[in-house]
Symmetry: C2
Subunit: 307 residues, 2 copies
């Protein structure tokens, strides 16, 4: 089908955002970078490791591949502007599947105002999707993982534990409730919350892909601080409680350790700085570890993909 075949067919006739100066079809794309700096991140999704086409439609997978990358852009305080896609597919992949993947990608990119500006399509023995997202800081300073200070307040934006609940449901062979299964299939990163946090003076920020505790651990490492999460501040939605009851699981564990929701966690100088859409969940102290209610979390922090 070829590089221009697929990307061209999916993007043909669609309206690229104003940041797309040259879109698919030439040797390279040209994207506006008004800030004179560009934020860039790459993630790879592999069939059977990061997604299963019996659990998700190709549209879901396409949306997810784009969402996980744009969440990284938001986690720097930037706005996603453009996406490039490397798609490896078996020869046996039906054109409709590849087109549905690309259509999902386009849909998610458009949700955030970014353009699908280029890519490459090649033959491989399984589906491997590599996405690179570009973003614009719009004059703001980037928010790294390294700026948290003792005394800061820790806050999150977006859903926590929903994708883990959805994965648990699918793993038991169920297909509902649709809200949690949908959250597993397509994360809904709060793209706008990243720039908002940057504007509000966030001192550190990270995309929660591996689970709240694991990713707060990266902030601790890079900032040389400790973080304590208070479970009384955690939002545990009734929906997660219901699902956990049915499965005999612990919803707080999902919230603390579940990956792939692509919520954002950030640290702010004080509670008053926390912008709308963010909720405080803990505090930054001296030390190096992530604790829960002042102690080591005994539930096990690891998050594993299903293979």
């Amino acid at each position: 089908m070829g590089e221009f075949g697929l990307i061209g067919r999916v993007t043909a006739g669609r309206k690229q955002p104003p940041t797309t100066l040259i879109g698919p079809g030439d040797d390279a794309a040209l994207v506006a970078a008004a800030d004179a700096r560009v934020v860039a991140s790459t993630d790879v999704l592999v069939e059977g490791v990061h997604f299963r086409l019996d659990w998700s439609t190709p549209e879901h997978v396409g949306r997810k591949a784009i969402a996980v990358n744009m969440a990284d852009i938001a986690a720097m305080g930037a706005v996603p502007t453009a996406l490039l896609v490397g798609l490896a597919c078996p020869k046996t992949t039906r054109a409709e599947v590849a087109e549905a993947l690309a259509a999902g990608m386009w849909e998610e990119a458009t949700r955030a105002g970014a353009g699908l500006v280029g890519g490459d399509v090649v033959t491989a023995s399984e589906i491997v999707i590599s996405v690179t997202a570009l973003g614009d800081l719009q004059g703001r300073e980037p928010v790294t993982r390294g700026g948290a200070m003792p005394g800061d307040v820790v806050a999150v934006a977006g859903r926590l534990g929903w994708s883990a609940a959805g994965l648990a449901v699918l793993g038991r062979g169920f297909r509902s409730p649709v809200q949690v299964v949908g959250a597993y299939r397509v994360p809904e990163p709060p793209y706008e919350a990243g720039p908002q946090a940057a504007l509000a003076g966030a001192t550190a920020m990270i995309d929660i892909s591996d689970g709240l505790l694991a990713d707060l651990g990266h902030i601790c490492e890079e900032s040389t601080v400790a973080i304590d999460v208070r479970t009384d501040l955690l939002e545990v939605p009734q929906r997660l409680v219901d699902v956990s009851t049915a499965l005999g699981a612990d919803p707080v564990h999902w919230v603390l350790t579940g990956g792939e929701d692509h919520a954002l966690a950030a640290t702010f100088p004080d509670a008053a700085a926390i912008p709308a859409g963010w909720r405080a969940i803990g505090s930054v102290t001296r030390g190096t570890l992530v604790t829960v209610d002042g102690g080591k979390y005994e539930g096990g922090a690891g998050w594993q993909h299903f293979r």
Copy 2:
């Protein structure tokens, strides 16, 4: 080994170029884009399709993966600034192989002054390397495939047919002559020739990845012109003549149709505009087809990877 494990290990202690504002290790990289626009291109290489580890070392493959992408940046008239790598590897891949791949990537990036700024490493059933290259136009207008005009002169920079000769040699079970085999393993795109052509007023430009005739065909399509290549202007190096004689092949065929050398082809308003390092090989006329010495090329234009 993880994302930061590999990319971090390979880039640790190395000197990033000044354009790398934030390198590997955070949610995303931050790259200078002084021009307020960024050129971006993605290519994917698959083991068994685009490379074989019995024909190339992992360092060769790493260099090639970066080179093919940076050639696309050069073909827009831009200078490569940064690279992001998505690397999928079987669990059985030895750490040394992955590190050698990454070391080759770093080496080639450094040759062109670009930084290896980020990436992702995941598990898959075969090696899939997805590279995204970013570049800076430095105030120049991009040179697309679409600006060639009847009366323009067609010129090329870089090697033609060398990679095809190397592939033919390897396909026969030989490992020498080392110059052509080396050209297959690691293309040497003339990175500086792209910006030079842009400065000299090139009206269209393309990276020759599929073969001279095939890629000139893309210029014809996008510019709505015809191009005639004159074989008396083609440089057929003695080395290619020697190898072709030994293999019973046609060296001119390699020059006209061989892929993967990643030379550049461009069109210029007149012969006087052609910068040093470029050589005229034909002319742009009215029409839509690529011809050789005024006629259809009967040798077959297609270039195939070895699978």
